[in-house]
């Protein structure tokens, strides 16, 4: 009763809330229509592809669609001993369909990935089916088991059963150098085949050190930019931005010219007698090259947020610190530095995230010991055509970035980021 009597009405007797909503509806629709193109663009170019990547990375429907009857009849099989006659029969019937569609090769490939040895026995079975050697009036189980001794091995049937779910985490495990073994347990691959984990660690390491180097070099530059008189700071700003306006490839190529063994830097070292001519250090096609080139390329992303924050810090604060008795260092450390933390956070986050997914530079100057996970992704995209694996690694990279962002938010607070 009280809520009804307290309801505020407009002069026309319509409840105020309804009237307000009505009045604002037009504006809301207008606002939505204004952002709608952008929203659509984001959905098409960002959210949809990521969703697509995700489904691709866990998709294992191909084999599910190839062996529908087999998997259905396997549902009741406990997986301990050889399956029943029924399973063998439905497998054969699925297989015959595949043979008709000439897709048995794909099946063999997929099963071979699950367990080595399927290739041979699938081919053998194919030949038998092709020659109509299998008599469906007799026990199919007996006949298939005769094709190859592996068909009598329960492990192979277990492998088939493992492929039944339409989704798989295999790609993600593979990216961590792990796989699901026969007992459905997550196992590490043998030591000589663990390549991805090294790449992940190297990627994080490179991104971390590039961020540190960018910070160490960018902080003084940004400070100079923010305090110099306008005519000099503009010139310096152009110097900082110049790399931005140059093509990434050109920049990387010029680093190649500078850093190679017969390059400018090495020539200079020899000239001043730092190294002997026959002992020129390798500065490219390794981590050094990656560090140098990436730091230079990502430096503006550190300088700009720092600059925009430093620009807002009144010079009178440092003066106040000094006039109150702080030495220049104390005034800097206690007054100036804490005020630049939002810029440091923004710059480091930006550089780290960009560095962790960097591709062209490590590909060109990284060599074998300087390639990063993104190069591996590109390799699987272009060379092996294992797109689902590339998607899985790409998503793991994205997940990693989100985790860093979350951690940063917990530690520093995203509200404290200032980009300009």
């Amino acid at each position: 009763m009280s809520s009804e009597t307290k309801q505020i009405l407009t002069t026309d007797g319509i409840p105020l809330e309804i009237s307000l909503k009505k009045a604002e509806r037009k504006n809301k629709i207008k606002a939505f229509l204004l952002v709608a193109p952008l929203l659509l663009f984001l959905i098409i170019t960002y959210i949809f592809p990521i969703g697509e990547m995700f489904t691709r990375s866990i998709d294992d429907k191909m084999i599910t669609n190839m062996l529908p009857k087999t998997f259905k009849s396997m549902e009741t099989w406990d997986g301990k001993e050889l399956p029943s006659e029924e399973v063998f029969a439905s497998f054969l019937s699925d297989f015959k369909v595949l043979v008709d569609k000439k897709e048995h090769g794909k099946l063999a490939q997929r099963l071979n990935k699950e367990k080595n040895g399927f290739n041979t026995i699938t081919k053998k079975l194919f030949r038998q089916v092709k020659r109509n050697k299998i008599d469906e009036t007799r026990s199919i189980k007996e006949q298939i088991m005769k094709v190859h001794k592996r068909w009598r091995n329960v492990e192979y049937w277990q492998a088939i059963k493992r492929t039944a779910p339409p989704y798989t985490s295999a790609k993600y495990l593979k990216a961590m150098d792990m796989y699901l073994n026969e007992d459905n347990k997550i196992t590490q691959v043998s030591e000589d085949r663990r390549i991805h984990r090294i790449l992940w660690l190297r990627t994080v390491e490179v991104a971390f050190f590039v961020t540190v180097f960018c910070f160490l070099m960018g902080y003084p530059i940004a400070h100079l930019l923010a305090t110099l008189p306008m005519k000099y700071s503009n010139l310096l700003m152009i110097c900082v931005l110049l790399p931005f306006w140059t093509s990434l490839l050109v920049r990387t190529a010029s680093w190649m010219i500078l850093l190679q063994q017969q390059g400018v830097v090495n020539d200079f070292f020899v000239l001043i007698g730092l190294v002997s001519d026959d002992n020129r250090p390798e500065m490219m096609y390794n981590k050094v090259g990656t560090y140098v080139a990436m730091t230079q390329i990502l430096l503006p992303f550190m300088v700009l947020p720092l600059y925009s924050v430093m620009k807002t810090i009144s010079p009178s604060l440092m003066r106040a610190g000094k006039s109150l008795g702080g030495t220049p260092f104390v005034a800097f450390w206690k007054v100036y530095f804490p005020l630049t933390i939002p810029g440091i956070g923004a710059g480091c986050l930006l550089v780290f995230i960009l560095a962790i997914g960097y591709y062209i530079t490590p590909a060109l100057v990284g060599g074998a010991s300087g390639t990063l996970i993104s190069n591996q992704i590109a390799y699987h995209m272009k060379t092996t055509l294992d797109w689902s694996f590339a998607s899985a690694m790409g998503l793991m990279l994205l997940g990693g970035v989100l985790v860093i962002y979350w951690l940063y938010n917990k530690l520093v607070g995203v509200d404290n980021i200032k980009l300009g």
Binding site: S316, K322, S323, L324, G325, G326
Partner: protein
């Protein structure tokens, strides 16, 4: 204990930023201990530069500054022990009020309980006790200003510099802060060097005022002298309201001179004119010229009322007098009825003693 009259001493100080223009020219200024001195002047007159040289953020191009008889040009700012209140307060935004006040004590390695005591005292001095844990952004402009004042005083500096500290406050707050700073100065007896371009502020607060223009001190004297007896036309113009006549001296004796204007002649008090034929600007304060004077005055003229503006406690009347269309009169709001109508002719008189014949503009 006799007070040191040369506690702060500017000795022939010149300052130039670009090697072409002198912003401060041959500055000689003595400030005695415990004095409240104001540097007053239009922007660009060199007053803030003087303050910055005293604080140590700028070095004199020539000459020397002495603090308690010690030359300080080679002492860095953090070793001078001079407190400073900045124009925009310059409170450290990432520190609480307590931390702001504790900063000068912490860098001096004062003990924790001593810091607490001093901060407490300083905050109660500016009546902000209980605000210790607030951040500067949570305070109003006036409160931030008080914190800045407290911070500049908390480490007991010998001299406190204030660089237009009230510039950002609104009028009422500015006035009450003026009295507050004045009282703090009277209570603790610290030497204050205050910079402002607001003459009202300077007149209410200072013991002495140095009027700056064009890099030079035009006049250094107490507020009343500055207002009543300006030594040149810049000071007369800059401090308070002022009616001026430009003319030429036609006759001069010891304390009176005749000045010929474009259309008329007046008697004036010769200040910076010496001989016949000198060009001069005669300056008369609006409140010294009376309408229909009862007493005998040696200047009597008739003017036409051009404008009447009601100001509550007084009425401003603009006259066309002796060819000066900007002659201002201040008529106190009293019961005697005057016929102040536009276009009316009224009689105006003033004493030649109050008409100061200064240098020509």
């Amino acid at each position: 204990m006799s007070k040191n009259t040369e506690f702060v001493k500017f000795d022939k100080v010149d300052k130039s930023y670009d090697g072409k223009v002198l912003v401060v020219k041959d500055l000689n200024l003595n400030i005695s201990e415990g004095e409240f001195i104001t540097m007053l002047g239009p922007s660009g007159s060199g007053k803030t530069t003087c303050l910055m040289m005293l604080a140590g953020f700028e070095t004199p191009t020539n000459g020397e500054i002495y603090l308690d008889s010690n030359p300080i040009s080679n002492i860095p700012p953090h070793k001078r022990g001079i407190g400073m209140v900045f124009q925009n307060y310059a409170l450290f935004p990432h520190m609480t009020v307590y931390e702001n006040l504790a900063f000068p004590l912490r860098v001096r390695k004062v003990k924790k309980d001593e810091i607490d005591k001093k901060v407490d005292k300083a905050l109660s001095m500016v009546s902000l006790s209980g605000f210790e844990s607030r951040m500067p952004a949570q305070l109003s402009g006036g409160q931030q200003q008080r914190v800045a004042v407290a911070r500049a005083l908390v480490f007991d500096p010998a001299v406190v510099l204030m660089d237009e500290p009230l510039g950002a406050l609104d009028k009422n707050l500015r006035e009450s802060m003026q009295y507050e700073i004045k009282h703090i100065h009277e209570n603790i007896g610290v030497t204050v060097v205050y910079v402002t371009h607001d003459q009202g502020e300077a007149l209410t607060m200072s013991n002495r005022i140095a009027v700056f223009n064009d890099g030079k001190v035009q006049q250094l004297s107490s507020p009343d002298k500055l207002y009543e007896e300006p030594v040149n036309s810049f000071v007369a113009e800059f401090i308070g309201e002022n009616n001026t006549f430009g003319g030429e001296v036609t006759d001069i004796s010891k304390d009176i001179c005749k000045v010929k204007l474009q259309n008329g002649e007046i008697l004036a008090n010769p200040i910076s004119v010496n001989s016949k034929g000198d060009k001069t600007t005669v300056s008369i304060r609006p409140e010294r010229a009376l309408i229909n004077p009862k007493d005998k005055m040696d200047n009597n003229q008739t003017g036409k009322i051009e404008e009447v503006i009601y100001h509550g406690d007084h009425t401003r009347v603009r006259l066309d007098l002796l060819g000066n269309k900007e002659f201002i009169l201040k008529v106190p709001n009293s019961s005697n009825e005057l016929d102040l109508k536009l276009g009316n002719e009224i009689k105006v008189g003033w004493n030649s003693q109050d008409a100061r014949a200064l240098d020509p503009k």
